[in-house]
C-alpha cells in the first residue's frame, strides 16, 4: 500500500475546497466494492472546467469503475459526486444531459451506417430534423468519415470505429466528456488523430475526463493527472509536479574497468553507483550542454575513459513505476 502522507503532499489541493463555479467534476470519499472486493477505496477528485484531467493507472486499478460511477452507470457505496454542478445521486437526469461518455469498447451499432449511427443519437437527443442534419454532416466532416458515411459500421476499421464512437458522444454538445481508454488498441497515427481531436474539444471549452494506461498520453494531453492504484489515488498534480516527485535528471556513465569507476567516483563527489550495473555511475545533472560539458571535461582531465554515456530525465514512466508499487523488481534486480 502506498503511503497516505505522500498522497496528501502531492495532491496539494484539499478536496473540501469545492469551487462550484469552476469545477466540472468533484468527488469526495468515493467507495465501491463488489461483494468483498474493494475496487474504489476513498477517491477524491476535483476537475476544473475546461481542462483535461487524466486518471492514470495499471489494469484493474479501478479506472473504469470510477468512470462508471461518475457517469451514473453505477452507484457508489459511499461518497458524494457533483458533475456539471448536479448531484449524481439526486439529479441523475440533469447529469446525463450534460455529459458524453465514450467507453472502452466502441459503442457503435454495427448494422447501421456511420450516418445512421449519428442520426440515431441526434434523434434520441431530440435535435430536430434540420439541426440534426447539420450536426451529423459537421461531425462526419470533422472526423473524416464523410466518405464512409453510407457504409455499415461493421465494415469500419478499429480507428474509424473509435472516431465514430467519439463523434456519437459529441452529438448534442455535452459540456463534460468522459473518455475511458480512448486510444487503447489504436495504431500510432490514429492515436495522434485522437489526441488532436481531444485538444480541439478542450479549446472549445469542453472538460475532458480521460483514463489511460499510456503515460505519454497523459503527459501530452492532461492539465492534471491522478495516479490510481489499488482503488486509491496515490498521486495527483500536473505532469511537471509529478515528475518532480521522483529523483531528478542525471547522467549515466559507464566505464570499462572498476579502477576507472573508483577514480571517477572520487572525482565526481555527488555521483552515486547504479544499483543494477557495477560499472555505472549516475551523476546528477540538469542535462544542459553546459553541465554535461563540464562533467566530461572533469573526467577528461583525469584521463578517464567513458565507454557509454546517456542523459536521463525522469518521465511519467518513472513516476508511474515509482508510485504504483512496481519498483521492487527494478531496485532488487
Amino acid at each position: 500500500m502506498p503511503c497516505q502522507g505522500c498522497v496528501r503532499a502531492v495532491a496539494g489541493r484539499p478536496s473540501n475546497l469545492v469551487h462550484m463555479t469552476s469545477s466540472a467534476i468533484t468527488a469526495s470519499g468515493l467507495r465501491k466494492a463488489y461483494k468483498d472486493k474493494v475496487v474504489l477505496d476513498g477517491i477524491d477528485l476535483d476537475v476544473p472546467t475546461g481542462t483535461i484531467f487524466s486518471l492514470l493507472g495499471p489494469n484493474g486499478a479501478g479506472k473504469t469503475t470510477t468512470v462508471n460511477v461518475l457517469t451514473t452507470l453505477m452507484t457508489a457505496d459511499a461518497g458524494s459526486i457533483r458533475v456539471a454542478g448536479h448531484d449524481v445521486a439526486g439529479e441523475t437526469k440533469a447529469v446525463r444531459a450534460a455529459i458524453g461518455v465514450t467507453g472502452q469498447f466502441a459503442a457503435v451499432d454495427d448494422l447501421l451506417t456511420g450516418r445512421e449511427n449519428l442520426q440515431l443519437i441526434a434523434d434520441l437527443k431530440r435535435l430536430g430534423r434540420a439541426e440534426s442534419k447539420r450536426v451529423v454532416d459537421d461531425l462526419l466532416e470533422r472526423f473524416d468519415l464523410t466518405e464512409s458515411a453510407q457504409k455499415l459500421a461493421s465494415t469500419y476499421s478499429g480507428g474509424m470505429r473509435r472516431k465514430l464512437d467519439l463523434a456519437m458522444t459529441l452529438v448534442g454538445k455535452p459540456s463534460i466528456i468522459f473518455l475511458d481508454e480512448p486510444t487503447t488498441g489504436l495504431d500510432p497515427r490514429s492515436r495522434r488523430t485522437m489526441w488532436e481531436i481531444i485538444r480541439q474539444l478542450v479549446a472549445d471549452g469542453v472538460t475532458i475526463f480521460l483514463t489511460t494506461q499510456y503515460l505519454e498520453e497523459a503527459d501530452r494531453l492532461a492539465d492534471r493527472i491522478a495516479v490510481l492504484d489499488g482503488g486509491r489515488i496515490v498521486a495527483q498534480g500536473t505532469p511537471a509536479e509529478l515528475k518532480r516527485q521522483i529523483p531528478g535528471s542525471h547522467v549515466r556513465l559507464r566505464f570499462t574497468t572498476d579502477l576507472d569507476l573508483e577514480t571517477a567516483a572520487k572525482v565526481l563527489a555527488d555521483a552515486t553507483r547504479d544499483a543494477e550495473d557495477d560499472l555505472v555511475l549516475r551523476a546528477p545533472s540538469d542535462g544542459s550542454a553546459r553541465s554535461v560539458r563540464g562533467l566530461l571535461t572533469q573526467l577528461d582531465t583525469h584521463n578517464l575513459d567513458v565507454e557509454e554515456f546517456s542523459v536521463h530525465t525522469p518521465d511519467l514512466d518513472d513516476v508511474f513505476l515509482a508510485l504504483t508499487g512496481k519498483t521492487s523488481t527494478k531496485v532488487s534486480a
Binding site: L73, L120, D123, L127
Partner: protein, 247 residues
Amino acid sequence: MPSSTTTMLSRNFKHTLRNPVAVFNAILFPIVLLLMFVYVIGGAFDIPGNYIDYATPGMLILTICYGLSATALSVNSDMTKGIINRFKVMDISRSAVLSAHVAASMLRTVIALAAVTGVALAFGFRSPAGFTDWLGAIGLLVLVAFATTWITVALGLSAKTPESAGMVTVPLIMLPFLSSAIVPAETMAPGVRQFAEYQPFTPIIETLRGLLVGEVSGTKAIVAVGWCVGIALVGYLWSLSTFKKRA
C-alpha cells in the same frame, strides 16, 4: 421530433431489413418441417382427416418459437457490444430499448406466420373457420408471440455471451415438439404424455386448432390465454430487473 421509442423502433426495423437471412431462416425452417411431416413422416400417423389440417396449427406455433433465436441474439449483442451503455447514460426511457426489440421481433413473427399460412393453404390446408374464428386465431398467435418474445428478451439479456444467447431459445423450440403439435398427446409414451398434457403449448395449440379446424373448448382457451398472460408477465418483469442489473 420522434420519441425515443419510435427512434429505437426504427433502429430495430433497420436491423431486420439489414439481416434478411434471419427472416428467411425463420420462414424456411417451419415450411420445410411442415412439408416433411405432411409428405414424409405424417403418412405413418394414424390421425383422422387430412394430416395437414392437424399439423398446420402446431407448425404456426413452432414458427413463432423458431423465430425467437434471432431476437435473443439481437438483444444480447446490444448488451455485450457496449451500445447499451451509450443508451443508459443518455436521458432516454429505459423501456424504449426493450419495447423496440419486442415490436421488431413481433413484426418478423407476423411476416413468418403469414408466409407459413400461405404455404399451408397452397399445399391443401383447409379451414372451416369463420371470420371471428380467424380473428380469434390471429389474436391468439399474436398473444403467444408477445409472451414468448418477452421471455426471450429476458433470456437474451441474461445470457453472458452471444453464443449462449443463441442456445437459450432451444427449449422454446423443443417444447412444441413435446406437445400435441405433431401428434395427439394420448399417443405418447407415459411420462412424456403427462408432460405434454400439462405444458403450456398443448392448451395453446389445442385452442388454435379448435379455432381453425373445429370445436373450441372454453376451458382450454382460458388455460391457453392464462399461460400466455403469465409467461408475458414473468418475461416482462424478468427483463426489466435483468436490464437494471446489467450495466
